[in-house]
Symmetry: D4
């Protein structure tokens, strides 16, 4: 069902390939089965970036195993998200012992296997947070975007309660290629940024707050209902998702 | 248990009042029982304003009956909230036929029985809305505040998606005595206004919006989580409550 | 605080402008105040597209008034969303009587004032729906994107319950510049499309469904939790928001 | 009221049983009362399988007591679910000291008392998970089904974000007797599997995820709203329930 | 990727088929595209039953069009669910004018195109409701199951508040092949039936009730938490889903 | 399993009854099956009161049929709740044409078939409402309690916002046998009454209110969390349930 | 405002009391102010039982202080609920050192200060639980009821999944004065017991369960929607409230 | 855009200021950028009070850094809220080592940097709590109000279940300038206080309670729906916000 099917069929027609060989090629597993995980080795080809490993709920052994499997297949940088420092240390030792490059970013809780590319893309991604407490989510977004080859500008603690702090950075926002607006509590940052920016805005609600913040629900609903156009939303605390989406937008090009 | 009890007791002590008469005075009903409603005739004395009738779920007959009962007791202006135009017409005919003054404000869905006072109070109440659709709630707040004797400035459609529309009115907001911030959808207006104003802000979430606005829940949570200080919140669409609260604040004075 | 402030200040310095004239220019209202709405006339300059009027909760008179105000300022196409056919007829007559071009798209419930541009942008926007009932939301997205100058391909009724219907269109999805995935009920379309596409995916939950669909909540949560990367979400039934966001992404360019 | 009542009554008629003896037999307790639990000894007869003990919230002593009571009554295998490793160790020592067979499956957190039957039933139960983190729930389902006498095929980490991983196993899914689809986050696996399979699908939402996954609510709603026919749902993380239901379906036969 | 791919490839190998022809066959559309809907013509082959049309939100014209498309492809009976009487009348006239058989079941709001099969399957499906108000949902389940070739026994109004009404039918429940338990309000019927029956139980929460029934949420949660084993749940008011699932279970057989 | 089983068994023992006859008697249907409803004819014996018919979602024909079935079995008064005036008129004509007594209470939306008893019981049931809009629910409770043979005192519109209105009636509350506290919005009445009364208090949340009242949810949660002891709660708007419960408490006696 | 006011006034009239003395008597504090708590010393007089101290969130010192204050005023037994074993040990030492009687019931987490009365009341309170895990809540109810002077029968683990376990105890339920039905998960026990019992039933939802049990929400909604009459509900896990309410009902008598 | 712009422009006009200098002054940063936080140094000027630091989620280092930055700019008292004792100790040592005054209030979890003013304002702020467990929130409100220069009266444990405890303090409530009503569970205190007081009431729901209190949701909804006028609400457990709002109201004056 892929675009190569015609080529394979033509090879069969030409007698260069038996039916059995053809079947094998068509069905060739585009993933490696590790028992506990099916590692997707074709993704970079299909989507232009490497596999991302969701670290939470996986053991250090599983993470190292998957990472090695991908790295061996020459997939470039592999991101491991939601990984605490302790697990990262274990993964590091395993991979280093096998001469596989690995670096850990603790504020972002991200580990990166392999080389990260030079910044490229249409322009600069601006990451703004409403408060100081939103920084871990922002770092997850920033490190993700940087690892995928983007220039990132961090504007932290520019919440709307002191609107002049945000307006001070108006120029950077207007020059941005993509803006990631990250806020907990009432999440108003997304709407205000959305009204200022003339580029796509990715809004990330965070679980920062208490009481009626309901673990990020308040910010989530607020951002979904943004009265500004050009704002879309990812899951609560999903810094990775926002960084990835921003990267895709910042690397738009004719196919 | 009231402050007059001592006076009554002293009168008994002086023999000017019998025990029975004293008991009667102490127990004197501070309300009139109409069967379907207990009209509170002492409230103006206690709280400085007249009874307010919640019109929804009451028949025109019940409304007119209660209104007449209060008006007869010389309580000054009576507000009837949440009353549709049709019911208002019926109430009007009944009250006018008995020479009781009554006026209906259709955008605010409020009827007023009797005379409204001249504007007084510490300063001006500013009422800001995020959009055009929030106007009915804003008018409920405005007419309430005006009927209780306040000067009101209306700033409609100054939502945060075009922040310069709001900043244009920054001076009026900074000069206000109290600000009422009314918005549906993401309700970000309250936080932004709360960051600009140096007076109390009453936030009113509205049910304007669709989808994840969940009938005002989004704006409500957003406003409760406002990162700005000096913001408190009333029920969804409760323009009356905001107008009343603003009035109380605008008439603060030493007791 | 804008980039022109220096220019104005230099003119004052050169004596070409008095302080008063400068102040006037700086404060020059970037919107027209119609009483019930503050029309934002600078938005096209700031964000590259014209004002969009949210038609729900506005009268035909208000809509026509705002539309005329914008059209007179030469802002190009104006979109009026969430407008029913009856209101559209009234708006049409008012605008046509003043020789202002207006066309109504009933499936999308959108009216367009003025001329729409030729398709431009990086590539083609693909709009996929899970079922037949999602079409109105999809049309809102499609007409929005087209009115802003994008080529749109509609893939309707390709829900995941018959995955081969979706896989059949795999090539179109892989060639897309942006994909808008629209689905109600369980909203699984977003994840599956997100796994196939190598471009940004905008997911739109719809209120299609019953029972535990809870008016779109099920699809909304599902899409926010998408296990595929490169998916972001807009409000329930917000076809306009998705079309607008897709347009911005499809017109990405160096600044 | 049971089917034996006629037999007992006929015995009374024949004078073989007194009214009192008959009453005793009819009322004969079909359970053993341990004070803290009423152990149901007739269930195997009634429903074809042994008692299952819900281990959470019970002490090791209570669990061992109930298990022994059932085992003594020759009920075959007894499953103890939701039992952590520490408690299992205590139960093991108590039961082994009384020569009662007991084995613990730690990934599934299930203990089994007595002998498990050979695989039987109509066909094979396929258990698919969306990700690696769903495996504990999947193992609960798998061990349950195996302990009740079913052949089980595990297909782990075949989530829809890389649809080819799932399609690779299409044949196994199409050959299955029953499929158990287990997924957290957006739970889309159930719908996609439901569209491929031509057998009953039991969907199990898991609490895997974060933010708007709301502890499994997102997957639960998604699965309940599945647009595929032939899908029914059990409680969040209820691997046991799914395994049990699949067993019943896989052992369907004329009565 | 289907089981016929080898056959096709072998034909190419044998020179009986050109690569192009092979490609065409492999890609042959297994559905007809009507523009507003992609009719799935292979489903009966794949899943053993015909297409089901979800009638709500589709026009009579769309329904008739889809129905005709399927009927023409000789797919046997087609079910149209959630169709009101008025729409059914329109569909009927269109189909009858084209000599296509169509019958409407008003209590179940189901229309059936074509011939329904004789009852077959392992045993009898028992459908029990908690009250009289649950009957429409029960009829949807019953007509669905009957149209797919099952014998159905209806036990209506046997709610647990008068447990003897249910116990009276204990024998029928114990003899059933599958039981569908339908209840609104507190949904306790599912648990009680689940404790009595020794066959799979499909629970259907209904939106019957008021107040804290929250449109079926109470019954839904109750059923998901059933303490009885062998109970799985479908969406609120989803009589069709239950009937379909019951049919699949009742037709289990070795493949 | 009933207390009469011994008697029946003894009759068999004495040869007065055959096994078959005994079985018949034991199984004798304690309800009449009307097809759409199983009318419970033994309930009065079991619970001391007659059947209650939930009128909502039943046709006038069904109601009349059930009512007649019960009335014919000499069960005394039958209550039909949640019946609108129009349906009541139809039921009235049907029953009167068959000389069955029927009266309709429109404020309570209750119809009563047959004779209601004289007031009896331990004392007087006091029914208090927070506002005028709660009266329909209060009347449902009052008419239910009266129809079952209780003296009822109505205290309407004694909400806590004017606490003196409630304190005025303190004596009646303290003398009550049972108090039913009915309120919407914040539902504080239950707690305040619970603090004053020294008898059981049944709290009924109502759906009166708007916005964050969420159709009675606010009052429901408030009442469930009452800090006063001796308060229990029934469903939102469930006046009947409260009246019935109060009746049972007011008729407590040694068995 | 109390019934003694007349007596006091008459004493003033007779010159036996000065106005000041009278005022003092009328205002005489009916509670002792400990700074952190206002101990209500009149409650036993007003409501027939002693103060109950909610132990959670209070320190051992505060608890002992309040308990001593009440005990000194000769109020009979004082219940301290929600107190863990450690805190109880501290309270015990403090009170015993002051020769105040104190006993702790660990399963119920209740401490009792002073003497508990002999069982009295109309009949016996039956406390039934759905499972073994509900026992702590049941013990809270049982110890409360016993401490207030009631005979209690415990029926634990009689959940509806094995309905015969419950029916076995039918006679005890039918003879009960009040039944307290305690269950988590789906909470169906309340409805089934409500259908069997002919006395008031107090339902207590518990937080037992997982997943869609949502910490007791499922059982709560289920119980509020019970289709059985004569069932009212208290807060989740509120064993005390149920025991107290049952006590009040079991001690009903003419005033 | 500020009021000083004219002055700056006039200085440019007079040649006293160059365009560049003017631009600098207009853009002069009104905050200090610490990297992790943008400290707002103009706020006291704008809003009359100093910056407040939300301590939760910030390290002791960050807190001390921000506090020092503000204190150095001579902003008067700085409040640090939601700071636990351990963090406070660290902050204390850092600040004291730099001779900056710092005091910690442990019940309120507030630290204060610098000097607090003498009480001023219109009157006295009364803070009432429903129970003993609400005291921490009340202390947060009290210390905040005191630190901003207000006289505060604490009325703790005056919940509505013993209404006489509250009525005893009626006079203090009626004399108050502002009342802060703090309660968890059912939150009825706000409505009762709102009915008594003739001043603005700020209601604070607390997370005190269990079960259906849902972490403060019950009290929140209750307070939002208060039937008393003049009540507005802040976030759950937001003692600071209430204290701040009360301060603003208590310091109302003509501008």
């Amino acid at each position: 069902m892929d675009i190569d099917v015609r080529a394979i069929l033509e090879a069969v027609e030409r007698g260069e390939l038996s039916a059995d060989e053809a079947l094998t090629q068509i069905k060739l597993k585009p993933f490696e089965d590790l028992g506990y995980a099916r590692v997707d080795l074709h993704r970079r080809v299909r989507q232009g970036v490497a596999e991302v490993i969701y670290g939470a709920g996986k053991t250090a052994e599983q993470i190292a195993g998957i990472a090695k499997s991908i790295a061996t297949a020459h997939q470039g940088a592999v991101l491991i998200t939601r990984m605490d420092a302790e697990k990262a240390e274990d993964v590091k030792q395993t991979l280093h012992s096998q001469s596989i490059k690995f670096e850990y970013y603790d504020k972002a809780r991200i580990g990166i296997v392999g080389e990260t590319p030079e910044p490229s893309g249409i322009g600069r991604i601006v990451i703004a947070t409403g408060g100081t407490s939103d920084i871990p989510v922002a770092e997850e977004a920033a490190v993700t975007a940087e690892a995928l080859g983007n220039e990132v500008l961090r504007l932290y603690d520019v919440g709307v309660a002191g609107i002049h702090r945000l307006l001070e950075s108006k120029e950077e926002i207007m020059k941005a290629s993509v803006v990631i607006a990250i806020a907990g509590m009432e999440g108003a940052l997304a709407s205000v940024v959305g009204g200022i920016a003339d580029c796509p805005v990715i809004a990330v609600p965070t679980s920062v707050g208490y009481g009626a913040a309901f673990e990020g629900l308040s910010a989530l609903l607020s951002m979904l209902n943004s009265c500004a156009s050009g704002v879309s939303v990812v899951n609560i605390d999903n810094g990775f998702g926002a960084g990835y989406m921003a990267h895709m937008i910042n690397h738009m090009s004719k196919k």
